[in-house]
Subunit: 171 residues, 2 copies
């Protein structure tokens, strides 16, 4: 799929068909995630790919808005390894760029996904990290539910010209 078309037609997908998602499909979206830039190329992203229905059910109840993780065939927990970052303050930005690549790659390959926020709410971070057994210093940033879309929402144009300033804020 064309890049701009992918960017502009991607929607958060929260309902999935019964169609399976293969390990190769999962690897393709993780490969895209890891192609993101990161501060000093520190690559702080880590992933736990959860297919087990019981674990997904627990993740679905660990934070608000996480029900899609229970319904999708695959739940991906995205974590930041903050233990030895060259640029410690930047792992959130690095990992978020990787999530966006993952979402775009999912859409471009016929899958649908939704980004479910975890960090920076400490209680949610702990709940999710505990379920997947992440060690101290590896922080859950978000979860991503991945499946074959049952339906997509309408395409929307989010462009807002008032968010763009020429040369300076008040110009």
């Amino acid at each position: 799929m064309d890049t701009l078309e992918t960017i502009h037609t991607r929607r958060s997908i929260r309902q999935y068909s019964d169609a399976p998602v293969s390990d190769l499909q999962v690897e393709a979206v993780l490969r895209a995630a890891m192609a993101a830039p990161s501060a000093g190329n520190q690559q702080p992203w880590r992933f736990v790919v959860v297919r087990d229905a019981d674990t997904r059910a627990r993740l679905a109840e660990a934070t608000p808005y996480a029900a899609p993780v229970g319904r999708a065939p695959v739940g991906i927990v995205m974590l930041g390894d903050t233990r030895e970052n060259k640029h410690p303050g930047y792992w959130i930005q690095d990992c978020s760029a990787a999530v966006e690549n993952l979402l775009l790659a999912a859409h471009a390959t016929g899958l649908g996904a939704v980004w479910i926020g975890v960090h920076p709410i400490a209680e949610r971070e702990r709940s999710v990290a505990d379920i997947v057994g992440a060690p101290e210093g590896v922080v859950a940033l978000c979860m991503i539910a991945v499946g074959v879309p049952e339906a997509s929402g309408p395409i929307v144009d989010r462009y807002r010209s008032e968010f763009v300033h020429a040369e300076s804020w008040d110009a």
Copy 2:
């Protein structure tokens, strides 16, 4: 350009030809940025598009690694408006997803760009916000230099299978 090809061949571009970048080209990358998902669709991203050479020279000296902003025809300051977020902790993730869309759209349309970190280092945030006149509560996340690439670097495969865990961290 195909989405996965764009994701995998995007590189940080720090050297630019003399070719101009049109306002339409800038609008296309900003439009892509604003197509990113955000927590509760709060769209906290704001942009100052700087073409003025004196302003770009000041931005280039405002933070480390910012020299490309001085060389590129266009410098984009990306800010997060934190003043009335529905989900206050999430603006960094929201804006970072938008940056990644912007970088991919630039590459897909024949431009080259590089993400220059500003937040969370408070001194850098203040320097950049002062130069573009951002009001209190509008925080500079990063700068993005955009131009026509003079040369690109080699394509690298950043996939690391050891970053992927099946079912749980220790599995």
